[in-house]
């Protein structure tokens, strides 16, 4: 059985238990449930709230480099600290935080395989003790902007098709992965259930995207699927290591997990996360969209519609 290209980017719960008080390591919890950390966390772990810590409150973007440096300083993370993420929902948000940290050039990163779920299943200890570490002076060195795609990059990636065109073929060597649920991909849903504030005016997907929901890359126990399983999952849809790949979802968090799997674990060289994702694409005027559920509805209507009689005009 093949291993991941970069297996060291995943650490086990045992490893975390052994290193939770290692001064060279900082364990960071990042969850969807914004108060889960406060109910109890891995001893020694600090919290990064994706909503309040990593996002700029005024404009739609991440915090800037000086703010990131201040955050790192406050968490006691130095440029040489190894940061290990874990969280709820199969490490979905942990991977999002990981991606932002990588974007700002922090290179010593890992994810605890299985996340919070596995830690709890193994009946390992949690604590509610509030922690603080001595502040550090952190400098953002080389940002990895190449792992982020903007709307313009995506338009170029799909060959700038005429938005009125019904079918779009991606330029040779380019691939696009939509990691949302099948209902969002098909255009039936304009937002995730329970996230109505993160909706879009148009449903469907970016032309040329294949649908591979993010959760297919993780097992029921929250751990990542094996390298062989991941390889066959993505290659079956033409997502191969040599391609230029852009992944997206709704705001870029679920696709961060897919980015982690392909770019980090599997070592695919060119994978970007389009964090504007569907909440941008589905709301911008004039962008091309494929909407299978609309096409299906039109086909049904065409079958059932009465034929207008001659002379009625």
């Amino acid at each position: 059985m093949a291993d991941y290209m970069n297996p060291e980017l995943l650490v086990s719960t045992d490893w975390v238990a052994e290193h939770s008080s290692d001064p060279a390591v900082r364990i960071v919890e990042s969850d969807e449930d914004v108060l889960l950390y406060e109910t109890g966390h891995i001893p020694g772990a600090v919290k990064v709230d994706w909503h309040t810590d990593l996002n700029d409150e005024r404009i739609r973007d991440y915090i800037d480099a000086p703010a990131f440096a201040r955050l790192m300083g406050a968490l006691g993370i130095g440029n040489d600290t190894t940061v290990v993420f874990y969280g709820d929902k199969s490490n979905w948000w942990a991977c999002y935080a990981y991606w932002v940290f990588r974007l700002y050039g922090h290179d010593k990163l890992a994810v605890m395989n299985g996340g919070r779920k596995k830690w709890l299943a193994e009946k390992r200890p949690l604590t509610r003790e509030a922690l603080s570490y001595p502040a550090t002076t952190y400098s953002v060195m080389d940002a990895h902007l190449e792992i982020r795609a903007f709307r313009e990059d995506v338009l170029r990636h799909i060959g700038r098709p005429n938005a009125r065109r019904e079918r779009v073929e991606l330029p040779e060597g380019n691939a696009l992965v939509d990691v949302r649920s099948p209902g969002e991909y098909s255009g039936e849903l304009l937002h995730m259930p329970d996230y109505p504030q993160e909706g879009a005016l148009r449903g469907g997907h970016i032309p040329g995207a294949v649908s591979i929901p993010w959760s297919k890359a993780v097992a029921d126990d929250g751990t990542f699927r094996s390298a062989d399983e991941i390889k066959s999952l993505y290659e079956a849809q033409g997502i191969t290591p040599g391609k230029d790949i852009i992944v997206y979802c709704r705001i870029g968090e679920r696709s961060s997990l897919t980015w982690f799997v392909l770019h980090e674990l599997m070592g695919y060289r060119r994978v970007c996360n389009y964090d504007g994702s569907w909440t941008e694409w589905g709301n911008v005027v004039g962008l091309p969209v494929e909407n299978p559920s609309l096409e299906e509805r039109r086909r049904k209507e065409a079958r059932t519609a009465p034929h207008p009689e001659m002379g009625t005009m």
């Binding site: 969807e32 108060l35 109910t39 259930p193």
Partner: protein, 157 residues
């Protein structure tokens, strides 16, 4: 009240919830939420028919800290309350009770218990009307007294 105190208040309720469990002799049982997102609350409501007040209320559920803490806090708040008072509660007010500063990124979780309790009262009213009792006590219908809609909710009875 500062942010840390609000968080403590919510976390304590999530860890040691009040009124959690089934109510054996409930008049109505209504579930709300979305299992796909993991937040589900089921409200068990027994009504003091004569006085149109809550006789007993409890909940079961699972999901995020905010949704479960909110259910515990709400059931404490409405113990013995007139049903009309609950029907008139607005969702923004519920967010303020829970601490808007902390729950504002999760409005649907924060208001799930309230919207489910309102759905339970609506069902109770319908049952009473169908049984031919009490129908005249809500001439304008309960829904007309609601202020605003919940940020997101779906309910199954």
């Amino acid at each position: 009240v500062n942010r840390a105190e609000i968080i403590d208040f919510l976390v304590e309720h999530a860890r040691s919830p009040s009124n959690r469990g089934r109510l054996a002799d409930a008049d109505v049982i209504v579930s709300g939420g979305n299992p796909n997102c993991g937040d589900v609350v089921t409200i068990f409501l027994r009504v003091d028919h004569e006085n149109d007040r809550v006789a007993a209320v409890s909940f079961e559920g699972e999901g995020c800290t905010i949704s479960q803490a909110a259910a515990s806090i709400l059931t404490e708040m409405v113990s013995g309350s007139p049903l009309g008072e609950i029907e008139a509660k607005d969702y923004q007010g519920m967010m303020d009770v829970l601490g808007r500063e902390v729950v504002r990124s999760r409005p649907s979780c924060a208001t799930l218990a309230l919207s489910t309790l309102k759905a339970a009262i609506k069902k109770y009213r319908r049952q009473r009307t169908a049984e031919g009792v009490d129908g005249a006590s809500t001439p304008e219908g309960p829904s007309s007294r609601e202020v605003g809609g919940p940020p997101a909710a779906c309910h199954t009875e």
